[in-house]
Symmetry: C2
Subunit: 184 residues, 2 copies
C-alpha cells in the first residue's frame, strides 16, 4: 500500500490530467509517483464477416508516427462504455454494429495511469455513412483476420489494445463463448 | 502529423516525466497534448515447466490496488532490454533463466505515452536466491498455465502486458516458433 501525502504538481489537458504525487511507501519511506488520471476508454474488434477486421490508420502524437489500430476512444462524461464503443466505431469507420459483446477490461499502463480500456466485439456491421472522423483518422482499412498475427509478428501492429482485443476474440471463439454467427 | 509548438509544462519523477505540449494539428488548428516520456520497459513470461507460470503480486499506486502480473520493469540507462528482463526476473522472483527469447515490442498507452514494452519468454529457470524485491513485490506465485485464461476471464488478471505476453507465448508455441523444449 502506498499513500498519497500531497499532489505536488498537475498538468491538465481537455480530457485528462497528469499529477506528481508525494507518497509514503509501504516501508515508510517517502517517494514520488507520476499518475495519469484518465476517463475510461472503449475499443472495438469489429468484423465485417468472420474473416475481415475493420482497422483505422491514425497519427499518434506521443509516439510520433502513424499506426494501425482497432477503433477506440475515451468515454464521454455520463456516457455508457458500450455507447462509446458504438459511437467511436461509427465516427471512425462509418460502420454501425447490430451486435456488441463486452470481452474484457484491463489497465494498459498500470505503472502510471488509472485508465481502464473496455474491449468489445462488434458484429452485424452495416456501412452507414462516410466516416465523420475529422482529422483524427487518416484511413479505414479492412484486413483479413488470417494476416493479423503476421502483422503483429512483423511489427506493423504495435498497439496494445489491438493485440489484446484480437487475442481475446480468438480465445472466446475457440472456447465457444462468442457464437459462431456473431460476426456473420 | 501533429507538430510540437512548445512545451507548456512538465512534471519530473525519478525515472520518467510528463509534459503538456501545445501542438499544431494536421488541419492547422492548435490543441494541447499530454505526453509521458518513458524509458523502454521489459516484461518476462517465465515458465518453471511447460505448464507453470511465474507471477508477482504488487501494489500499484496508479490504480490503488494489488495486482497479479508477469515480472517487469524499466530499462536502466545504458542497459540492454534483454539484460533488464533477466535482472527484473531475478530481482522480483529469485529465478534465473538459461534461455531468453524476445517475443514482441508494443506501445501500451499509445494515446499519451512513448513507452515501449519488450516482452520476453524465459525458460530453463533455476531458483537462485530469495528475491531481492524490496517493498515493491509482495509475493511470488506459481500459476498453472491452463488456469490463466480463466483468471483473465474472471478479471483477476487485468494487466495489459501480462495478457499480451501470455497470448503471444501461446501463439508462438502453436506456430512452432518457440521450441517445444524451450520451457522444459
Amino acid at each position: 500500500m502506498e499513500q498519497r501525502i500531497k499532489v505536488q504538481g498537475s498538468l491538465f489537458a481537455k480530457h485528462f490530467s497528469a499529477h506528481l504525487d508525494l507518497v509514503r511507501l509501504a516501508d515508510g519511506r517517502i517517494s514520488e509517483r507520476i499518475r495519469i488520471q484518465h476517463p475510461e476508454a472503449a475499443a472495438v474488434v469489429a468484423l465485417t464477416d468472420p474473416d475481415t477486421l475493420v482497422m483505422v490508420r491514425q497519427w499518434r502524437y506521443a509516439v510520433a508516427r502513424e499506426t494501425l489500430e482497432i477503433p477506440a476512444g475515451k468515454v464521454d462524461p455520463g456516457e455508457a462504455a458500450t455507447a462509446c464503443a458504438r459511437r467511436e466505431l461509427t465516427e471512425e469507420t462509418g460502420y454501425r454494429a447490430q451486435r456488441m459483446q463486452e470481452l474484457f477490461s484491463y489497465y494498459p499502463a498500470i505503472g502510471y495511469s488509472d485508465e481502464v480500456i473496455r474491449i468489445y466485439a462488434a458484429g452485424g456491421l452495416e456501412q452507414q455513412a462516410i466516416a465523420d472522423n475529422g482529422d483524427e483518422i487518416s484511413g479505414v482499412e479492412l484486413i483479413r483476420l488470417d494476416r493479423i498475427f503476421d502483422l503483429i509478428a512483423e511489427g506493423v501492429i504495435q498497439d496494445g489494445k489491438t493485440v489484446i482485443g484480437l487475442a481475446l476474440v480468438r480465445e472466446r471463439i475457440e472456447r465457444g463463448e462468442l457464437a459462431a454467427d456473431f460476426f456473420a
